[in-house]
Amino acid sequence: MHGSGEKHLTHLREDLVKNLRLDFFDDEDIESVLRDLQYLDRKIGQKTLALCQTLSHASSSLVPRTLKRIKNASRFLSLKEMERWINQAFDILDHQGVDHFLHFISRIDEESLWDFLMPKGLSLQEVAPVLEAYVRGISGLDLKIAPGKESYTDTSTLFVPHSVSKYEEREKNFLLYKFMLVHKWAQMVGGTLTPDAETLSAFLTDSDAPHPDIETFFRLFPEKDLAIDLYTVIEAFRLEPFLAKELPGLMREAESMKKDFLKERMPLSNLTGKSALVEGLYRFYLKGDIEGPVPGVLNNAVEEVLRLGNGATLYESMKTLFRLYDAATGLGGSYQPRSTLLFLGVIKPEEVSLHLKAERRARIKKLEGLITKLINMPAFEPRKTSFQKTVFSEKTPEPAKEYLLIKGRIIELDEETKGFIENRGGIPGGIMVKGADIGGAGCPMTLTELAEEEEIFQEADGGIKYDEWDYKRCGYKKSWCTLFEHVLHPVHDGFVDLTLKRYSGYISVLRKKFELLKREPKIARRQKEGDDIDIDAVIEAFCDARAGLSPGDNYFTRYDRHERNFAVLFLLDMSGSTKGWVNEAEKESLVLMAEALESLGDRYAVYGFSGMTRNRCDFFCIKDFDEPYTDVVKRRINGISPKDYTRMGPPIRHSTKILKSIEARTKLFITLSDGKPEDYDAYKGDYGIEDTRKALVEAKEQGIYPFCITIDREASSYLRHMYGEVNYIVIDDVKKLPNRITEIYRKLTT
């Protein structure tokens, strides 16, 4: 493998030099580029070389610039960090193009590279999986955790610093992470960030915003920073008892940590009145003393927040905020935002609002889609809707609620949907009625239920993304290929019948051979334990006993069954190059294989693939695992025809995914192709071979046994490398395929 790696490098280098020359680089310039490359560490050097080579195809002038940046960045970053940085650069180049790439690599100041610096102390990356499971367990919600400069949340992602190094001990830093997360969780449970419309309406007028949220609320305060800081600490007091009840163990540990944080806070004496009030509350929260310039106001404030601890509502909290804000502004002076408490984090109303707006937009978009769907939907057919849902749902229209009647469906309306439909001026073909007018009959369906169906549809429509291995950079291109599943169109052309006739003699032999494999359950005789008595053994034992011999103790028969427990997936190359004999031979092989497998009873599935470019990898279903071998399947086999190109990675990865979901003791994955993987774009040569190889290795890692059958007259040398990790066979004469494949399968599974 080392040898082939060197070969790749030489190849890359030659290609780069060629491109540089084409763009009129003189020898000296080229020499300088190569020298720069040599200075880099071996692994980084290889990645950089691959990057330069890719760039040189666009424009050679990018190469020296990029090299300079990489050299500069290497001053700040360690080797590991460099590797991550270059990988990211590659991803940006792949997905966003040269301009974004240049922008990315031009930012090599410390601030921009911050994300790539390996953190001191405990890094989030290291503990993220555990923390995510922890938060999911606690909240029961699918919350994501992501690195951020501060600790805050937009209600769907919890942002925490990418490393915590407050303490020497790893455990304490980890504890700190947990505090940050549970405080965010408490805020979400307590509604801190998402006050409902009713609570907000007490403070806001209708004209403030059509959809008021926490951000609209904070617009009420001229000194927004002051209000937010006050709100953060007020809510911390309100939610403290909740946390103490839910997570007593953690909160006990929090107490000692609070002391450590208190040490870092500033004494109140040097602060302006406003700042002292806020800081005083933080200090009090950390159980510190609150002696300072505004004792009276602060004492009142402390009393106020303490009252919140007795199960106060969010409304009361907000009321308190107004009172404390007024008290603070009454103190005069300017407000200097205090350093926030790491584990309480900060509240970012604008982030929350952005997220909520994005969610609302997505909902509206979905609503629009659903309503279009509703309008275009055929009239309600009872059979087509989910039978189970109608049976188990005990819902009947409620008299007071409003429903949308459209095409025989009764759609339940929430406020948002109702508003949306009213704004639209109604829906053609639909009427809004009160539940009372419908009477008790009918089963209303919510739009979410419709949406769920829609979502499944969308996923199928949008294709499935797969990564692709790029050997040059030793890394994956993320979500690079899009694979679409299709069911192959059945064709009536009698190919299968003809094959069955042509091979009828062979098929009967084949069936017999395979039936032998079945290993019918047999009765094992002379067993110590079993289902029934072995009369022969018993008679013998009697005789032995009479003759004065020891009679032994194996008197039973046992029903022995050796169940075959195989699942096999056939993946068929349907690229243009199979046109003619190869395609016919593939189809014939399938017919024979199907006959054999039917007599054997092994579970099998057949898929075909082709496609053009990474954006359209087609995956054709000929027979699913759960589908019986019917006439429709036979007609689909008839319909196998040469299509476009051979991008093997995505279909192999998709097949692996299918096999993974199947339960079987042995999973076989047989690919049938006619040579090199090749696509319309850059997927050819070494690139295609390496990606195919990687995809097969991935399959093997999942406990699947891949076996590749290649029809190739030249039996080229790359096959050994491509399939080397798995088993393969080369068939030089396509006519032999139908006979050979059944033989191969028989050998593989016995």
Partner: protein
């Protein structure tokens, strides 16, 4: 000397502790009166077997439990000939004994049994209520006191571990899930004698593990596991350790998940 009794003589004398979480007792009673067999569905450790014991006690019928496994044959259920002292003698299987004694026959984890074994119960489970004993050439008719019930866990989403429709559709099904928080707390306290607060914390932890079902855990912590932990706690083991060994570790082997669960334990206790 251990006191062994015959399978069909196992009658539960003392009332097993069972707190109903719905109408399962009434449903079971009317199923029994109407000679309809019962399926109990639900995750492991949520009280299916305990419920069966309770009902057997309530009706004063012997309880014959058969734990199904994939080597269970029809003869294991119905009976077989054995060689004893130079002669072959017939030995009734547990199912036959249950029919003869008019007991409750409880097939635990029925999906583990092979499909060809499961069909043996079909004639018993429909309105015929008969058990053909082929090897003897006899047919046994079940007395009205006899009841057949089976349990299975629909959580194992596997094609191989599914109940055949022909089996399913002979039964009445009662769905069991984890008891609600208050009930579960009472159960733990009653079973183990731990105090109110500990029981509440255990239930709280269980809820959090159940949140992780299908997000890294196959199942959340069952009531049975909580009781194990509570027992350890009441015999003096430190609560965090007790939860780790009796809940966290049995639930999963995945290192990260174990760590996350331990963190949950230490946050709650």
């Amino acid at each position: 000397m251990l006191n062994a009794i015959k399978t069909e003589e196992y009658v539960i004398e003392e009332e097993p502790f069972y707190l109903p979480s719905g109408k399962e007792i009434e449903i079971f009673e009317s199923a029994y009166k109407n000679l309809i067999p019962v399926i109990m569905k639900g995750p492991t450790g949520c009280g299916k077997t305990r419920f069966m014991q309770y009902m057997a006690w309530r009706f004063k019928r012997p309880l014959i439990t058969i734990s199904c496994h994939d080597d269970l044959t029809a003869s294991d259920l119905v009976g077989r000939y054995l060689v004893r002292g130079g002669e072959t003698v017939w030995l009734d299987g547990p199912l036959t004994r249950a029919v003869k004694a008019g007991g409750f026959c409880y097939l635990d984890e029925i999906v583990e049994a092979r499909k060809d074994t499961t069909v043996v119960i079909h004639p018993l489970a429909d309105d015929r209520r008969i058990l053909p004993v082929e090897k003897l050439g006899e047919i046994l008719t079940a007395p009205p006191e006899f009841l057949l019930s089976i349990s299975y866990n629909p959580g194992y989403q596997s094609v191989l571990k599914d109940l055949k429709q022909s089996t399913r559709q002979r039964f009445l099904a009662i769905d069991f899930s984890y008891p609600d928080k208050r009930l579960e707390k009472d159960i733990i306290m009653h079973e183990t004698g731990v105090d109110d607060l500990t029981a509440e914390k255990l239930v709280n932890f269980a809820e959090k593990t159940r949140n992780l079902k299908d997000r890294g855990l196959v199942e959340g912590a069952s009531t049975r596991l909580l009781i194990h932990a509570a027992k350890l706690i009441s015999s003096g083991i430190e609560p965090r350790t007790a939860c780790d060994v009796s809940i966290t570790e049995p639930l999963t082997d995945d290192h990260e998940m174990v760590t996350a669960l331990s963190e949950l334990v230490s946050s709650i206790f």
